[in-house]
Amino acid sequence: MDFQLSKEHAMARSLFKDFAEKEAKPRAIEVDETEEFPRETVAKMQKFGFMGIPIPKEYGGQGADILTYAMCVEELSKVCGTTGVIVSAHTSLCCDPILTFGTEEQKQKYLVPLAKGEKLGAFGLTEPGAGTDAQGQQTKAVLDGDEWVLNGSKCFITNGKEADVYVIFAVTGKVEKRGKLMKEISAFIVEKGTPGFTFGTKENKMGIRGSSTYELIFQDCRIPKDNLLGQQGKGFNIAMHTLDGGRIGIAAQALGIAEGALERTIAYTKERKQFGRAIAQFQNTQFELANMATKVKAAQLLVYQAAMKKAEYQKDPKVSYSVEAAMAKLYAAEVAMEVTTKAVQLHGGYGYIKEYEIERMMRDAKITEIYEGTSEVQRMVISAALLK
């Protein structure tokens, strides 16, 4: 077992760090204040291949591994949680299901421009009445000749109005499972601009405020029959598989937020003087920092392990990374919340002031315990594997 990054990974990390410092960090406060989607930064990420990191080169991607992708989200999130989640939602939630379940034609038509950075992707599973319980889906898709007709709405969709390509889930019928009549869910690829596909409310959020979170509305939205993603009725499996991968991205985001807060807190406690000495010289500060750093390191190891496990899966689909991804997300998200909360405390009054950015990190951290499976869902996934 080797905990050293390879030369390639070390260089990739330095690239992401350099980019994050130069491009994402200077805009982070403004993105949070104005809720403006950071288009300029995203355009640069698209230009330099950040939007297709783990996608094979034959489909326009960078052909790098999941660890490289996770480090990208991590480094971006150290300085701007919004920028981190834009990459994560695009890559894990839109590119990945098309790569895994799409036909060759769908990959050529949708995945190639997504991975090349010509288009942005999003994912629509959640509905007002269907969060953790995906069976609560109300959006319906009915086959009418050569077209599927979608009706319903999706909410809390990251990259909502900015995306070009959406992976959308809808009920396509009913099936009997274990004696119960269950909804049959299928996945579809929907393009922005399709008649009948519009945007509803923009959410005014606590954190990751620039990530363009919108309601998607489908009213007699007709899409080609060929835009069914994977097999009809396999939507639930596609969604769960996609979220397994997405959790690595969100775990990396949480890790980055925690690292960013820790770095700033170390620097601050060395500078801030009270009672004639730097607050870093007080044992309480030292112990808090030690606890924070240890947890951040543990989170990093879990996130990287999950990323490497997914890389194994890509070589051998029999390998499961679901539990590792759930553990990484559960732990990293809770560490992010704990570390950012302590970081605010160690900053004292300044931690409560927006200029110091720590309060933003605390607000950004909270969502990592909620989206792409709440911490409670992660515990369900982990315990189900333990007790099966």
Partner: protein, 262 residues
């Protein structure tokens, strides 16, 4: 069109500077980056490559084997080939020995345009680029802020003390790049993995063309370092404690005025 870009691995000044007993830099002990002006030159070369299909960009550096890192970085940004000139006998080179070495290496290559950075942040001499052009007997345009390719010519906006020069020069020629010449470019993640699959050509003393031993390494360096030090310690400064903010402002304004800042 063939472009050769000279790059140098330099100590990241943010990471501190260390010296060997002979007064030369202890490069192995320091964090290292691609010299910023060289990076601007590389960015300009890659932009020309993107705009002129068929253009190739070769990067070359002289340094320790560790300098391979900046070549990989250049490859990951989009350079086509990389050459590392490394040999014990080349160690401790001043600008003359460095330019002799690089010219000796470049004589093996076909080129239309050579781009170097204006100067390196570890030496700040701005001599190596112009010296290479002298060794190769080609024109040099220093302090370039903008380059346009026009057939066999380059049109260069050259910064001068109180004005610009617009120069149209027939290639082959050498240009030294200001930071303004570059536009922010980054490696691509996939480019990094490819860069480590690409073979870097390694040349030693024997591969240098038409360079006498007397022009190489520490022995071939006419520059003798009398003394080198890390940071020059700042003076203690002046502490004043005016009675009121008004007095403080008056004092500061007085000082600034005295020093002709305002």
């Amino acid at each position: 069109m063939k472009i050769v870009v000279c790059v140098k691995q330099v100590p990241d000044t943010k990471g501190g500077v260390r010296f060997k007993p002979d007064g030369t830099l202890d490069r192995a002990a320091m964090l290292a980056i691609m010299n910023p002006d060289d990076k601007a030159g590389l960015e300009a070369a890659l932009k020309i490559k993107n705009e002129n299909p068929g253009t190739t960009v070769t990067v070359i550096t002289m340094g320790l084997p560790k300098a391979d890192e900046v070549l990989r970085e250049a490859l990951a940004m989009g350079a086509d080939d990389a050459i590392l000139v490394t040999d014990r006998v080349l160690g401790g080179a001043d600008t003359w020995a460095t330019s002799s070495t690089l010219a000796g290496a470049i004589r093996n290559l076909d080129y239309d345009l050579i781009i170097t950075g204006r100067q390196a942040i570890d030496g700040d001499t701005a001599q190596v680029g112009p010296q290479i052009s002298e060794h190769l007997d080609i024109p040099v345009i220093s302090y370039a802020e903008n380059i346009k390719i026009d057939g066999d010519y380059v049109i260069v906006k050259r910064q001068f003390e109180d004005r610009y020069h617009m120069l149209k020069v027939k290639m082959p020629c050498l240009i030294t790049a200001l930071a303004e010449l570059g536009e922010d470019m980054y490696m691509t993640p996939g480019g990094i993995f490819d860069a480590y699959q690409t073979e870097v050509t390694v040349w030693g003393r024997k591969d240098l063309k038409d360079v006498p031993d007397t022009d190489l390494g520490l022995a071939g360096s006419p520059t003798k370092i009398a003394k080198a030090s890390d940071r020059v310690a700042k003076g203690a400064g002046e502490k004043v404690t005016p009675d009121t903010p008004k007095d403080a402002v008056a004092y500061i304004v007085g000082k600034l005025s005295e020093k002709h800042v305002i």
